[in-house]
Symmetry: C2
DNA sequence: AAAAAAACTTGACGGGGATCAAGAAAATGT
DNA sequence: ACATTTTCTTGATCCCCGTCAAGTTTTTTT
């Protein structure tokens, strides 16, 4: 099994141990590749998400274009699963866009193939449910984070938790992710 | 079948049609009751959520106490499912509190009983997964709502979408839910 | 290695909405 | 029905942070 394949399986296994049959079926379908250059879009606003991606290498930002600005919802890098979840779930045009910040290599599985596995492999559905639950709880915790801390506290807490982000991601996107202007982030760092 | 029972089933059926056996098994376990008076807590901060509730009548607010204030995360009334999801999912102490705003009648199922159904009744798990997906997408959409609209726009959009809330819920909680001070909400209504 | 583009910094300014405060209105309970 | 508590309103003040602008540094491209 290749390294990226065991990484994908371990993401699922961390929630629910998959049977050998499920592992084989999942990997068989998780077989497509994309290669993006810097600034390429993986998903554009308005597009319907039909795939679930695994990031082999590189870095991406997830954001929603709104009026004349862009609000950063998150990032993805090595060994993350990524897609435009609302569009993936509802099969409606995506509000999110996902863009490569560096050249990025991805593997993906088609949504229809993925969902088709649920019938024969109950454990895949259970693991996926639990991964989605994690996403929901994460969203809720982040909401609290943004509401109860000052810009400076938000910066410090991200710095404590994920210092590597500051090496990979341009500050202006981090500022947007932390819900402040690039100028405010710049001034905070002076302190 | 009693009215509240068919309501619960229809919530699940809206996502995934349940088999007769699944319906029977689910309702058999969804058999406990609670009755709350105004201001009683269904869930307190720090408590671990072990139940999933259905609101028969009355109204509730979900909020997180933080520092010296309370931030309203949502409301629940007739025919809603409700629990402290992060605590229910992770079995960790709840950051949320849930409080009755009027006298409220609820039915509930124990988490352990609910999860136990998933083994024999795959369709219950699938319906539940889809309901959780709906919650996740809802959270994401609300985030956009809060970030891209002014206080006045947020008020008007809630007024358009859910005018009945203003008849049931005290304004100060609605203000908190809309992420503004009660004074700001009061001033907006003058316009 | 040089040119161009993108990202970051720093200063000046302004405004939207929070906070504080005090009075009015409404809801609750006995 | 009355007293008490809670909620809502309205005014005055203030400050945090966003915006605008101009210069600097870093990164990217060729």
């Amino acid at each position: 099994m290749e390294d990226w394949q065991s990484k994908i399986i371990s993401i699922f296994n961390s929630k629910q141990k998959l049977s050998d049959a499920a592992v084989a079926a999942l990997l068989k379908k998780w077989s497509h590749s994309v290669q993006l250059k810097r600034n390429d879009f993986l998903v554009s606003k308005g597009q319907i998400e039909t795939n679930l991606y695994y990031v082999m290498s590189g870095s991406m930002r997830i954001f929603y274009p709104v009026k004349d600005e862009e609000i950063c919802a998150g990032f993805a890098y090595d060994h993350n699963l990524i897609c435009s979840y609302p569009s993936f779930i509802r099969q409606q045009p995506s509000d999110y866009a996902i863009q490569a910040l560096t050249s990025t290599a991805l593997k993906f599985i088609r949504r229809s193939d993925f969902y088709a596995l649920f019938g024969d492999h109950h454990d895949v559905e259970t693991a996926w449910r639990m991964l989605e639950e994690e996403a929901l709880v994460g969203k809720i915790e982040r909401e609290v984070e943004m509401l109860t801390f000052t810009p400076e506290e938000r910066y410090k807490r991200l710095m404590d938790r994920s210092p590597h982000i500051f090496q990979i991601i341009p500050r202006k996107y981090i500022a947007s992710y932390l819900r402040m202007s690039p100028e405010t982030l710049s001034r905070i760092k002076l302190v």
